[in-house]
């Protein structure tokens, strides 16, 4: 009995502690909406972007008296958290993201169109195409990215124009691998293999006159697509084994950094690491496997505006008149190494040979389709490519994939 009272005291202390914690939480929650009405823009960014945007945020606060709160988020979590939090009213006003999230965001009703006004014409065409969905611009583009051939200049002095010549040149270099492309044993990597697919004259959807995709016309299953599938099989386990499913993105990068291959099909995100390892990297066009131009997908980094933002006017003002300026776009480019989306900043960045290399490949690039069904398209596409590389019959697998995707798009 005597000890019990001590126990009670300890428990009371425990409760006090927990209540303190709870009260702390609710205190924060309570002060948030107050902030928004008195003028705070909440922007979700990743760490690199946060650094690049600090100055412009301060400038906006000075000019307009509205605080810009840059909340650093893990990029991989943004899409899901944004979809979940916007409906509760606790989401941010603006967030960064990939343009291919647009379709899903629109279907969930979490983003609002951003009227770029006259600014629209000052962006690169591909960037503007990418953020346009259903005829409206959702978001403001700030960077364009696409893949290209990273060449180790010590091991090869040029990248030939065709795939077979490149492999021959790679084998002549005497390294462990003639050519590297990151794969996944379960789902291959249709994004990285797409340039070869387009070089056979195939594309996932039919293209409109302006080059964008018409998601209502699936063309992946045409004769050119089957030709690509046959080629893919010939490069897989039963053929040359140049494309190896077990060589993951990490392993491929590691091999390139170790100087084990002259050619690496990858994006701007791997250039800095290679240079840090002392590899002199050149960026070259992707060789054609099927005779036509190898055109990769373009991904466009975008600022999205929340549909439930209580600061829509201020947020739009911040985007159109502050982010869409050459200085800010250049600062964002310097932080991320990806070519900016605003034409003047884009042209200024071309003085860097790496950016110019990616830019040259990007001239042929078409924005990744952003329709919400794209998720299941990627799924079937990757699964089938993996099966073909492993050695199943290319043409029949490809046909089966096409009918599966068709069924899902309906």
């Amino acid at each position: 009995m005597r000890v019990n009272k001590k126990g009670a005291v300890a428990i009371a202390a425990l409760i006090a502690g927990s209540m303190l914690g709870l009260a702390g939480c609710s205190g924060q929650a309570a002060s948030e909406p107050k902030k928004t009405t008195s003028g705070t823009l909440t922007v979700w960014v990743d760490a690199d972007r946060a650094r690049a945007l600090k100055d412009v945020a301060a400038e906006f606060q000075k000019d307009k008296g509205i605080k810009v709160d840059l909340v650093v988020k893990d990029y991989g979590k943004i899409q899901q958290d944004f979809t979940a939090q916007v409906p509760t009213g606790k989401g941010p006003d603006l967030t960064i993201g990939g343009h291919d999230w647009t379709g899903g965001f629109v279907q969930d009703g979490v983003i609002a169109p951003v009227e770029l006004g006259d600014k629209a014409s000052q962006f690169e065409k591909v960037a503007l195409q990418a953020v346009t969905y259903d005829g409206k611009t959702y978001g403001l583009p700030y960077a364009i990215e696409n893949i290209a051939i990273l060449r180790n200049t010590k091991l090869a002095d040029s990248t030939p124009a065709t795939f077979d010549e490149m492999i021959a040149a790679g084998e002549k270099a005497g390294t462990k691998y003639p050519f590297l492309v990151g794969q996944d044993p379960q789902g291959s990597d249709p994004y990285h293999l797409y340039p070869f697919q387009t070089s056979f004259g195939n594309s996932v959807f039919a293209q409109n006159a302006d080059g964008s995709y018409d998601a209502s016309k699936l063309t992946i299953g045409d004769a050119a697509g089957e030709k690509f599938a046959t080629w893919l099989g010939s490069q897989g386990d039963k053929g040359t084994k140049v494309i190896n499913l077990n060589l993951s993105q990490d392993l491929a990068k590691e091999a390139f950094l170790a100087g084990e291959a002259p050619y690496f099909l990858s994006g701007p995100w791997n250039v800095a690491d290679a240079q840090a390892k002392g590899i002199d990297v050149a960026v070259d066009p992707i060789p054609s496997a099927g005779g036509e131009t190898a055109a990769p997908f373009a991904g466009v980094q975008t600022f999205f505006l929340s549909a439930k933002s209580k600061n829509a006017l201020a947020a739009t003002d911040f985007l159109v008149n502050y982010i869409a300026t050459e200085d800010v776009q250049t600062a964002l480019y310097k932080a991320g190494g990806r070519p900016p989306a605003l034409t003047t900043a884009y042209q200024a960045a071309q003085s860097d040979p790496i950016i110019a290399g990616f830019g040259k490949v990007g001239e042929n690039a078409v924005p990744m389709p952003s329709i919400p069904q794209m998720g299941s398209v990627w799924d079937d596409w990757g699964k089938t490519e993996a099966a073909i590389i492993k050695g199943s019959d290319p043409v029949s697998s490809w046909q089966k994939m096409t009918s599966n995707i068709e069924a899902k798009l309906k």
Partner: protein
Amino acid sequence: MTAPLLEHEPEKVEVDAATRRRRKRAAAIAEAASAGWKVWLVKIVLLGVIDALVIYAMLALIAQGNWLVPVVIGAVTLLVNVIYLKPGLLPAKYLTPGLIFLVVFQIFVVVYSGYIAFTNYGSGHNSTKDDAVSALLLQSQTRVDDSPTYPIRVLERDGSFYLLTTDPDTGAFEVGGDDKPLEAVDGATADGAPGFTTLDFGAIVQNQDAIGALSVPLTDDPNDGFLKTTDGSNAYLFTSTLHWDPDADTMTDTKTGVVYHDDGRGAFTADDGTQLLPGWQVWVGFDNFVRAFTDSSIRGPFFSVLIWTFVFAILSVATTFVLGLFLAIVFNDPRMKSKKFYRVIMILPYAFPGFLSALVWAGMYNQDFGFINQVLFGGASIPWLQDPLLAKFAILLTNLWLGYPYMFLVCTGAIQSIPEDIQEAGRVDGASVWQIFRHIKFPLLLVSVAPLLISSFAFNFNNFNLIYMLTGGGPRMADASINVGQTDILISMVYKVAFVGADRDYGLASAFSIIIFVLVALISYLSFRQTKTLEELN
């Protein structure tokens, strides 16, 4: 309540100086605790702090327009006060904190998952109907092709807002508001109009909800479109393709004339079945459960995943238990040298974080670059993680490595607690080593270990880390409409349905979790009942 314990212990334990000191200290604390007013003071201060914080939290929540949560918090706090201030109520004094945490962290989560399982929450059904309507209207506004930009000023009169703009053709200054088409105003300039106040940016920002919602018809004909400003300094000419009729509860496409009705399933649907998305969350009853068991493209994968989950959990427990028990017996043999050293080595796999080990194993299984194929099999190309059967084997092997140290620890403890004299009696009676193990050690062991085997089963039933990190559920099932693989267990399938890919279905995922909950609860109940009979036997 604890007094009897204190009385029993001293008789068994040899009393050394340290124990005596500790006991003295405990007695002193107990003495101090019963000192009356001091305890009450501490109690009242702590409860006071809690109450103050709770009142603050309640006020803050009420200020946000939230009513249910403050009422619940207030009621709970009142109860806590009663329990700790009223003499007696001893069990409640002990149990209350635990119960509060149980409700917050367990019951609430379970109940909420249960609730979600009966809704269509997921992609395209993400929020409320009001949100869906406003999102649809927002999305249906299209800027008129090649229309000019209208530079504007925001004006205010009698609490309503107006836009002042310059007619691009005539150059006249025109003012318009909600349902008041633009018209020229005498004496207006580019910066203001008589009788109106011009708002600066700060004022615009303060009223941006109202100003953002302002749509000024260009003319009397609504088909000419309306001006809207998105940044407070420019306006653009928009037309809307959807018309919302709140009374009839319909959306009408003004271009095609198609009428979309609320179909009661959380979306506006036309007569021909086309849906307008976004929709909203609605209660769908047992739909998700029905789908899980009847939709053939879900049912097939679901049952094969269910079977594999049982196989995985049972075999994981069995293999780790057998190996752990074997090692425990071996290392408990008095003839074994350097036992302590070996025991430390044995426990190492248990000391690493499980997800890390799983990642390392995944790397070792790589078909072309992994340690197992390259070193152990001399460069063979065995598709460990790509062949359905081998992948299952690889998972069980990894889980054996991860799990046997636990069983080893538990069995070592249990074996050491079996009295030596029983075994000796067996030996004297001429029982063989195997007979002693089979008829004496093992049944006694099971009494203490069986509940742990059950909890180990429940743990492995939901062993998400291992599956997710090692195979990610792959290799993929080719014919499934949901994204599942051959080695997915129920919980990793739930994760995929809810969070992976573009089509997220939280409702279906929650329904699966409820099924998992029921299964684990049922199995645990049955096995614990079984264990009880085992205990009574002894």
